[in-house]
């Protein structure tokens, strides 16, 4: 029984450590014009159609969109900006956070003002 608990604990620790390795890059976007659930829904639908996007989270309180990419996938700032603009909103700023398995370099903000 002790051995079982020990093995379970090791598995849980290994999984916890390994999970971030498989997480993709995070893109944090500040967006103008996000005022209601229809706006959030629009961005969800548009971004989840993109092959590189695994998850999207819209925060209406902050006017921000967090886009999580699939492992080993990428999407350019220009594409992010175009998808948001084509959905009817304006991009203010794009920040990128590298995945954990890569060296932690500081995120470089990209300003896109139209």
């Amino acid at each position: 029984m002790k051995l079982f608990k020990l093995v379970s604990l090791v598995i849980v620790i290994c999984v916890s450590v390994a999970l971030p390795v498989f997480a993709g890059e995070m893109i944090h976007v500040k967006v103008n014009g996000l005022v209601c659930d229809f706006c959030a829904r629009a961005l969800e639908k548009v971004f989840l159609k993109h092959e590189s996007v695994s998850k999207i989270s819209v925060n209406l309180n902050n006017g921000t969109v967090d886009i999580e990419l699939k492992h080993d996938h990428d999407i350019s700032d220009e594409t992010v900006s175009k998808l948001i603009t084509d959905s009817g909103y304006n991009v203010v700023k794009i920040d990128r956070a590298k995945p954990i398995e890569h060296a932690p370099s500081p995120a470089l903000p990209v300003d896109i003002n139209d």
């Binding site: 014009g33 209406l60 084509d86």
Partner: protein, 216 residues
């Protein structure tokens, strides 16, 4: 000259029109929307598809028991301009439709006539306040045009995030061509959650209003 003046005025008015159940008449690229409206004298359903965030095309049916007709139309809406700000959004839409109106044969010769409508709507909202105005003109064959205009103000008693139940209290004022200059106020409760928006209203003359918008 007078004839052309009236024609110009009619076109100008018709350019600035729409009906209330059609708030947000354009969706996101690839989005479908169903909008149903019921009030004491009128019900309508409008389903549309937005190929871009700038326009939508769809089918709309309106049954007006006061004027005793049903209008089925191909509807086309355009988002003429959107103003996005950090915490607010404003829109200017043009709406139009063309189709066939039918009745029981007492008014329209043969029971049907060509018909169309056009108009505009504008709105401004942030997370707390909402305002809108819209105006529309419906033309049934060679008969007198039916005009309608409506204005709204609203306030959200609390602010929720995406996925929460959002509640709005709204006051709407309507003016129909049949009522002359009389304005009819209606108090509405808007409940908004995810992809569903439902409104319940009661006017000063006892008319009930129900609106439901579903976007997917």
């Amino acid at each position: 000259m007078l004839r052309y003046t009236w024609l110009f005025i009619s076109l100008f008015i018709s350019l600035f029109m729409s009906d209330l159940a059609n708030a947000r008449p354009v969706s996101y690229p690839g989005g479908w929307t169903s909008m149903a409206h019921y009030s004491t004298n009128l019900w309508s359903w409008h389903g549309h598809y937005s190929p871009t965030a700038r326009n939508s095309i769809g089918y709309k049916v309106v049954t007006d028991s006061e004027y005793d007709y049903t209008l089925q139309s191909v509807a086309y809406n355009v988002l003429l301009k959107r103003w996005n700000r950090p915490a607010s959004q404003a829109n200017l839409y043009i709406k139009s439709g063309i189709g066939v109106a039918t009745d029981d044969g007492r008014t329209f010769r043969g029971g049907s006539t060509n018909a169309g409508y056009s108009g505009f709507s504008m709105d401004w909202e942030d997370r707390r306040y909402f305002t809108s105005y819209e105006s529309s003109v419906t033309q049934l064959g060679g008969y007198d045009a039916i005009s309608h205009q409506s204005a709204r103000v609203g306030i959200a008693p609390y602010i929720g995030d995406y996925g929460d139940l959002h509640t709005w209290i709204m006051l709407q004022v309507d003016q129909h061509s049949t009522d002359g200059p009389d304005l009819v106020p209606t108090v509405l409760i808007r409940l908004f959650k995810g992809i569903n928006l439902v409104e319940f209203g009661l006017s000063s003359v006892g008319d009930v209003t129900l609106n439901w918008i579903y976007r997917y």
